[in-house]
Amino acid sequence: MTKPFIQISGLSKRFPGANGGEPLTVFENANFSIEKGEFVCIIGHSGCGKSTIMNILAGLDTPTDGGVIMGGKEISGPSLERGVVFQNYSLLPWLSALKNVTFGVRARHPDWSRAQVFEHSQKYLEMVGLTGGAEHRKPAQLSGGMRQRVSIARAFAIRPELLLLDEPFGALDALTRGTIQDELTRIWSGSEQTVFMITHDVDEAILLADRILLMTNGPFARVAESVVIDIPRPRERAEIIHQPAYYKIRNHLVEFLARRSKQLSGVRDHGGEPPVTVRPGAEDPDEQERRPASRPQLVSVAS
């Protein structure tokens, strides 16, 4: 059995309670894994701990218990191999959009010439559609969507092994969102990159992900299910809705978010079981049996 690229084991996070009150346990004894090159989305209601998990993966926060192993090494701090698009963009406000991107590129490639850094940064800004003078403006002079695009360009331009995206398209209008989703798919499929993305948007998750992790509500949240998206690639935004699997998966996700995320929440002694693998879109029930051993429990809800 080969080890997964990223193994999250026994991960718990507690925050000290306000004014010495009860500590807040965000999640406890979480176990799941991500394969190399996989595109994983995580969905759950606000406050369940998605960003907390992401911060731990980024190495910016330490778990109270457990740990994360990536590529055979324990994650012990931030690294350029893990690029982050923060929920609040986190641009440096005293630098122009372009300078924010070159900031990252220069950190990644200290040996590059100015011209190389500039060219590379410009390429990624073009990719997110930030050109024609907008790249020379400071973040305060850009709209929320434009700032988010700069933040995406900064992370993509570094070309990390693992891209961590915290609701990256939340502030974008539908058109830009579509363009950048397509770009993300293109970049990802043409590389060895692994993507871990938080989203609120069920359709977006189905379009992009190989697998969607579903989290129950917090506190004591857990990753309850791992939904495999059995829709062949390349996926076209307009085509995908005609796939029979699409609505089965979609209904499953919506049903989880509407009902079961609450029903399953607050369970303390789940014994650290990994998420149940679900394949609402699978046509052939036999295929389910051929899932890798790292996903032990198989439940089909496809009727």
Partner: protein
């Protein structure tokens, strides 16, 4: 929009001029005209104008004095008769050397204190006790230890400018948004690079505020310090002219102190605007 702003500015400017003219007018009228030198008796001249000279002079006389002084600001006729430019230059020299010495120490130390909560707590009591001490209270000690009045004046400037810069730097550094530090971390920047590329620009507006407060205080203090140590400088000049009962010169130099102080502040306001950023 722009047109309205401009006309508001114009209105304010016109009002300023009107106020100035009105004030000067009232001042002129409130001060009885001085007899010209020709009308004075020998005795009156010997006693310094029979009391008239000791009166507050009218603005016309101050302006006359200003024109005369400013047309030849750098003359030097010995220790008690130097041009206003020379006196101001001495003061500026002391202020700037004490000030930059203070900045050289306050900003790096403030940086370290801001980075380390333990250092912050450990040094805080010292800062709290040293900060409220009037800088002039250090003068006797400085004169005794340094044994040089010039250096003592610089030391007094040093000690009064250090606190606002130290405290603001520490505060600015300690309060840099965590998000920005996280950006530095995820890009694997070392401590030095994080300090220069992220923390310094993030804290620069706060640091500049401290520097601007400091230069203001330093300019306030230099006048008093020079009155004490004597010899040269605008503070000494004011005191000397007061001893000569030359109130015209006193008022003129007071105005010059104000104008130079304003210019210093303008320079720092300009730098402050240059490092300011909008979140």
């Amino acid at each position: 929009m722009n047109g309205i702003a401009l006309s508001d500015n114009t209105k304010a400017f016109l009002l300023s001029i009107a106020l100035l003219v009105a004030m000067l007018g009232i001042w002129e009228l409130a001060t009885p005209a001085v007899k010209s030198a020709g009308e004075l008796t020998e005795y009156e001249m010997l006693t310094g104008g029979g009391g008239e000279q000791a009166r507050v002079p009218p603005p016309s006389q101050v302006i006359e004095k200003a024109v005369k002084e400013l047309s030849n600001p750098f003359y030097d006729n010995g220790p008690n008769d130097k041009g206003i430019g020379i006196q101001l230059a001495y003061s500026l020299y002391r202020v700037l050397s004490g000030y930059f010495l203070a900045a050289l120490i306050a900003i790096p130390i403030g940086f370290l204190i801001g980075m380390s909560p333990i250092a912050y707590k450990a040094l805080d009591p010292f800062i709290q006790v040293l900060r409220p001490i009037s800088p002039l209270a250090w003068m006797p000690l400085a004169l005794f230890v340094i044994k040089d009045s010039q250096a003592s004046a610089i030391f007094v400037i040093f000690i009064c400018s250090i606190w606002p810069m130290l405290i603001n730097t520490a505060f600015g550094v300690a309060n840099v948004r965590k998000d920005w530090v996280n950006v530095a971390k995820t890009h694997e920047l070392g401590q030095l690079k994080t300090a220069f590329l992220v923390i310094l620009p993030a804290a620069a507006p706060t640091i500049l505020t401290g520097m601007r407060i400091s230069i203001g205080i330093a300019w306030l203090v230099i006048v008093a310090a020079e009155m004490l140590v004597g010899g040269t400088g605008i503070g000494y000049y004011v005191w000397n002219e007061w001893n000569n009962l030359d109130l015209t010169s006193v008022i003129f130099s007071i105005l010059m102190i104000g104008i130079v102080g304003m210019m210093l502040d303008t320079v720092f306001a300009y730098i402050q605007r240059a490092v300011q950023f909008q979140e």
